[in-house]
């Protein structure tokens, strides 16, 4: 009766301190997150993207292309050594514009998602904490907003108040917060019913402390996951709105806007349309993959069973 074991035996189960336990959990989460190559790549890509977005103005090869100073000689040229992605109808370097566009899309997306998340979380927590009539009202308001397909309402708002990137962001925030509100309320409700929370209540914990010490920590996981996934979606929608003309306005180098501008030349200048589109796709892809990974981290059941 020999002890043949295939891999390293686990250390004798020791008792961990609270800090050690938390650290171990973080390590475990990181391990799950970066488990496969695809996710590692997307995480790396996002970091790269953020860096690029920050330093874009400084490393762009043709800074004048961003504001749109035309250069008549180089109109509509294909990709070349001097212009990696070619030029547009004004002779502007598309590579520079795409690079700068990363900055725009990322910032806009982050602002929008963050606002939605904050507003939604606050309302969601209030709804769960206050219960009763307040809860019902907030949830019905959510329902009403959710029954408007996102972009439609956003387009309406943008159409009435003029198209601009700012208005687009506001519009999408207005339409986006119900997702977070619902999510947080759901988490909050399930947490507040848990025995340890009720025990705390019985011991006289105030509502405020319950919110901060119990509800919030449990909600962070799902919120972060949803925010990441929403971020991808928001970037898509912002570009869609710019494409339609109710978002960023020329000469802003926004990806969706660039694709719209490329339509007139679409059969002859394939590069004009292609590169901004690839930029959007790859960015959103990275966020979606990251979101998937986060989902596996915070929702262990999605990992399957033995």
């Amino acid at each position: 009766m020999s002890d043949t074991q295939v891999a390293t035996p686990a250390a004798a189960p020791a008792v961990l301190t609270a800090r050690q336990a938390r650290w171990r959990q973080l390590r475990l989460q990181w391990h799950v997150l970066t488990r496969n190559t695809l996710q590692k790549i997307s995480l790396g890509f996002i970091i790269l993207l953020i860096l690029l977005a920050i330093i874009a103005p400084y490393i762009v090869p043709y800074p004048e292309s961003i504001a749109g100073v035309p250069s008549a000689e180089e109109v509509l040229q294909g990709p070349s050594r001097s212009h990696l992605f070619g030029t547009d109808e004004f002779g502007r370097d598309i590579f520079s514009r795409v690079l700068y566009g990363a900055r725009i899309s990322l910032m806009a997306g982050v602002v929008c998602t963050l606002l939605s998340a904050v507003i939604g979380s606050v309302l969601g927590v209030i709804a769960a904490g206050m219960r009763g009539v307040v809860d019902e009202i907030i949830m019905r308001i959510c329902d009403v907003f959710l029954s408007f397909p996102m972009i439609v309402l956003a387009i309406v708002i943008a159409a009435f108040w003029g198209g601009s990137l700012q208005n687009a962001i506001i519009a999408l925030t207005v339409v986006g917060w119900p997702f977070f509100a619902r999510l947080i309320r759901g988490t909050a409700v399930s947490v507040r019913e848990r025995p340890y929370v009720r025990a705390a209540q019985a011991l006289g914990a105030s509502r405020l402390s319950m919110i901060f010490r119990h509800i919030l920590p449990s909600s962070i996981g799902p919120v972060v996951t949803m925010a990441t996934l929403q971020l991808g979606g928001t970037i898509l929608q912002l570009s869609a709105m710019s494409f339609l003309g109710v978002g960023a306005q020329p000469p802003t180098p926004e990806w969706g806007l660039m694709i719209n501008e490329s339509r007139t030349y679409f059969l002859s200048a394939w590069w004009y349309m292609t590169f901004p589109g690839i930029a959007i796709s790859v960015t959103v892809l990275a966020f979606n993959l990251l979101g998937d990974g986060l989902n596996e981290v915070f929702n262990p059941r999605t990992r399957g069973r033995a």
Binding site: V144, S239, A240, F266, L285, T302
Partner: protein, 338 residues
């Protein structure tokens, strides 16, 4: 069961009211003066006063809202400033085209997306799973309008096998148009036996539907997979296996039936987002549906048009959600029996 349906529909009507109230508020809050819009910039004070009475703007806000809601239900949605026709007539013309796109896309999405998701879940972490997932997450990240443009470019521009835009080729539209019975070109052309028009319409349908389906099936695959993976961790799955039930039955009958709930709910959400996508796709393909109609309306700041289409979208969404909830009740006994 009936009680559940009635309750659900009642709830929808309430939400509909809320939607109408918001629409009214948005309209009133818009920095557009309906009087100026109607009467023109050069109108005199008397003319403006007349217009005001005509439009009912002299009545208290609550009454105005009441009038607005009543008008909604009677079909008086104002007239388009562009076409000068009642908005509701324009919508009746264009809606079938949009519905064709949406319905076909949803059907294809479900037919392709769900099986892909099931295969992924059942063969989790093996190559069919990885392949499906990469495909799905890739498709879902591509902007719909860009996919449409790309498809247009490849199949129409470069390969020339499919028509570039529109719903009917000019020869057919002029020479052998489809007689309108139901307003749905697919049905009408079949009923009247106009096969060349039918084929032509189908050819025109391919690219727009492909663009919409592409994105949709990614969503369906993802949610099906994730729900099924979770379901397959349930205790009763192990139980059924322990009785010796064949694996296929365990996964497809027990696993799938319990997973389908969230898939249906999200399909409703997805179908609603289709409403959005059609706007984009229609403008790219010059498809004569509601999307193009409202796109022009937006460009021209034709408010009755914008409002009308938004209402239809909201109502459509509501209807879809209600249907989805009812369908969910049919499938999940816990929902309908409480």
């Amino acid at each position: 069961m009936a009680r559940f349906i009635i309750r659900r529909i009642g709830l929808s009507i309430l939400v509909l009211m809320g939607v109408l109230v918001i629409m009214f508020a948005v309209m009133r809050a818009a920095p557009v003066d309906p009087v100026t819009q109607y009467a023109g910039i050069r109108a005199t004070e008397e003319q403006r006063a007349e217009v005001r009475t005509l439009l009912g703007l002299d009545k208290p806000v609550v009454v105005q809202m009441g009038v607005y809601i009543k008008n909604f239900f009677t079909g008086d949605w104002g007239a388009s400033l562009m076409t000068k026709r009642p908005v509701i007539d324009d919508i009746a013309d264009t809606l079938p085209y949009t519905l064709d796109l949406i319905i076909l896309s949803v059907i294809l999405t479900l037919l392709i997306g769900i099986p892909l998701g099931v295969i992924s879940a059942v063969r989790k972490d093996r190559w069919p799973d990885h392949a499906s997932r990469v495909l799905a997450v890739g498709l879902i990240s591509i902007p719909a309008f860009w996919l449409a443009l790309a498809l247009q470019y490849v199949f129409s521009g470069k390969l020339g096998v499919l028509p570039l835009s529109g719903a009917h080729a000019t020869e057919i539209a002029l020479g052998d148009p489809i007689t309108k019975i139901t307003g749905f070109p697919l049905i009408d052309s079949l009923i009247t036996g106009n096969l060349s028009a039918f084929g032509d319409y189908v050819a025109h349908l391919v690219l727009p539907v492909a663009s919409m389906t592409g994105i949709g099936l990614a969503g369906a695959q993802r949610i099906t997979r994730s729900t099924m993976v979770e379901t397959l961790t349930e205790e009763y799955i192990v139980a059924k296996r322990s009785y010796g039930l064949p694996e296929r039955r365990v996964q497809y009958r027990h696993g799938l039936k319990n997973s389908i709930g969230p898939v249906i709910t999200s399909t409703a959400v997805f179908a609603a987002s289709m409403i959005v996508t059609t706007f984009l796709i229609e403008s790219i393909f010059s498809w004569p549906g509601m999307g193009s109609y409202v796109a022009t309306g937006v460009a021209q700041l034709d408010y009755p048009v914008i409002m009308g289409v938004t209402l239809v979208s909201a109502v459509g969404f509501l209807v879809l959600n209600t249907l989805a909830d009812i369908l969910l009740a049919v499938i999940d006994p816990r929902v309908r029996l409480g």
